[in-house]
């Protein structure tokens, strides 16, 4: 499904503050698997996630998605792939204030130009699934932490992605909400989606549905020759 071949990522190369977040990472993420990337902050977790999620391009090395090499694609194509294949759940709900929850959920599909009626229906259906459809028209500021998280999940699903990427999803949730979140992940797995989560929350890492846990340290996968 996703294959990284000695991917390197160097920030502000060439000047004294050069810092290599990732150095020659080799990784293979299987189809319909739940993979957890674990590591202390500053271990390049987020950079690796943004490369996997086609948000940024590696300084060197190859990234293959479903067999197609995508690391030297121009940003226009990278974004198009990202829009259609990836769903992002961030540590913060990252919902945009001032517009209603429904509009927030529909936001990722705006550039695709679907007819509004169909898009609204899809969004309402998504909200209903996570039973926050009552909040559809309300402002984002009035949502509770859990509701905001669920809204951002629905937003991530609006374009029917096959891969879900969650960056420290349970960092700001209490245990009950975290368990509820893991049930949602289970539902994804049942629907055949691939899930990649970065977390150092034991509740996530040791959960039974996780197929593989990868430890990261200083921009390298542990147990791999430097």
């Amino acid at each position: 499904m996703i294959e990284l071949v000695n991917v390197k990522k160097v920030f502000n190369a060439g000047n004294p503050s050069e810092f290599s977040a990732l150095n020659s990472v080799n990784l293979h993420i299987g189809e319909n698997k739940v993979t957890v990337l674990r590591g202390p902050s500053g271990s390049g977790k987020t950079t690796l996630l943004s490369i996997i999620g086609c948000m940024s391009r590696p300084t060197a090395g190859r990234v293959r998605l479903g067999g197609r090499e995508i690391s030297s694609l121009p940003e226009r194509f990278l974004t198009d792939i990202r829009r259609k294949t990836f769903g992002f759940i961030f540590q913060q709900p990252n919902l945009i204030k001032g517009i209603s929850v429904l509009e927030n959920v529909m936001l990722p599909a705006y550039p695709l130009g679907e007819p509004r009626s169909r898009l609204r229906e899809k969004a309402m259906q998504g909200l209903a699934e996570l039973n926050i459809s009552t909040k559809a028209a309300s402002k984002v500021e009035w949502l509770s932490g859990g509701e905001a998280q669920r809204a951002s999940i629905v937003r991530a699903l609006i374009n029917k992605p096959t891969i879900i990427i969650a960056d420290e999803p349970t960092a700001h949730l209490d245990t009950k909400l975290s368990q509820r979140f893991m049930e949602i992940i289970e539902k994804f797995k049942a629907e055949g989606k691939t899930v990649i989560i970065t977390s150092h929350d034991p509740l996530v890492c040791d959960s039974k549905m996780v197929d593989r846990v990868i430890n990261l340290r200083d921009g390298r996968i542990e147990g791999e020759p430097s």
Binding site: V10, F11, T59, S72, E75
Partner: protein, 337 residues
């Protein structure tokens, strides 16, 4: 210099256009020198982001060129009362030697900017920026033209003396005086010119439809569309304007965009410009048909361009024929030839 709002607007527009094109060309040069699609280095990412800036700038320059072309003609028309003997824009453009060259250069720049945008659109479809080097070379080629146009335009407006005696529209375009570019156009006899126009147009349209269907003869059509552009301009001066003004002697190609003729000139010129830009766009894109990353979409895009060009030329012809039929000027006797 005449401190007139329209003059100030014109100069402002051309300075802005030059500034934007130079700014874009500067980054274009940078890209030409250090572009390497394979490397993921930071510089490459920054250059890629710059391509957005350049295409946005050029889109605005394209729009600005079109608008300032019409504003230029308009300003010439409003300034004509200031010049003894100038009856309309044609006379004012004759005030000094820079008037007409600026106009021609403005048209050429408009077409070049249009061509660049067509190339840019095609390049954006390719997943590895296939035409990037060619389009920025074209940009480097366009930049001096736009700067030259700005210099000419400033020269035209800055040393314009209000009361210089200038040959008026009538004599400039009337054929008795066979000096100066303007009068040659008019001396082309109107009746044969009508035949030349219709024959050339039917050939161009036929070739266009043939190319659209079969996909062959693209270069021929591009060349024909440029030729047709020139023939249409010449026929506007020699007979189309006569029918619009319903006056057998008034050959001026500028007055047709004025209020008295319900701004019909705008429609005519926009159809014509659209047709020729899409025409030359075909010519520019055909060599890249076998470029691997563009292969799938390019023939579709070229097809659309061909269709657009043919439709616009056809619409232009229909409008011209309508003008001729609806005008009550009957061209039975031979006119001013």
């Amino acid at each position: 210099m005449i401190l007139h709002p329209a003059v100030i607007a014109n100069l402002l527009a051309s300075y802005i256009a030059s500034f934007m094109v130079v700014y874009a060309a500067y980054y274009g040069a940078q890209i030409l020198r250090r572009w390497d699609i394979q490397s993921g280095a930071e510089l490459q990412l920054v250059l890629e982001r710059k391509t957005y800036l350049i295409s946005t700038l050029l889109t605005y320059v394209f729009g600005l060129q079109l608008l300032s072309l019409f504003l230029y003609v308009f300003t010439a028309d409003t300034l004509c009362p200031l010049f003894v003997g100038a009856m309309c824009a044609a006379g004012t453009l004759n005030v000094n030697g820079f008037g007409y060259p600026t106009l021609v250069l403005k048209m050429v720049n408009f077409l070049l900017a249009g061509l660049w945008l067509v190339l840019n659109h095609a390049d954006n479809q390719g997943y590895d920026y296939p035409l990037i080097k060619k389009k920025y070379l074209l940009l480097a080629f366009i930049a001096p033209f736009i700067i030259l146009e700005t210099i000419l335009e400033s020269a035209y407006f800055l040393d314009m003396q209000a009361d210089v005696i200038t040959s008026c529209c009538g004599s400039l375009f009337s054929s008795e005086r066979v000096t100066g570019l303007g009068s040659e156009i008019a001396s082309l006899p109107a009746k044969p010119m009508i035949w030349v126009f219709y024959i050339a147009m039917s050939i161009t349209l036929a070739c266009g439809v043939f190319f659209y269907r079969k996909g062959k003869g693209g270069y021929l059509y591009a060349a024909l569309s440029v030729l047709m552009f020139v023939i249409s301009l010449v026929s506007i001066v020699s007979f189309i304007s006569l029918y619009i003004y319903e006056l057998p002697t008034h050959h001026c190609p500028f007055c047709i965009i004025m209020q008295e003729y319900h701004y019909i000139g705008y429609l005519l010129y926009i159809l014509l410009f659209g047709a020729v830009v899409s025409g030359i766009g075909i010519g520019a894109l055909i060599p890249f048909r076998q470029v691997e990353s563009l292969h799938s979409m390019l023939s579709g895009f070229i097809g659309k361009l061909a269709l657009a060009s043919v439709v616009l030329y056809a619409a232009f012809t229909v409008l011209v024929t309508y003008e001729i039929i609806s005008s009550n000027l009957v061209m039975t006797y031979e006119v001013a030839s």
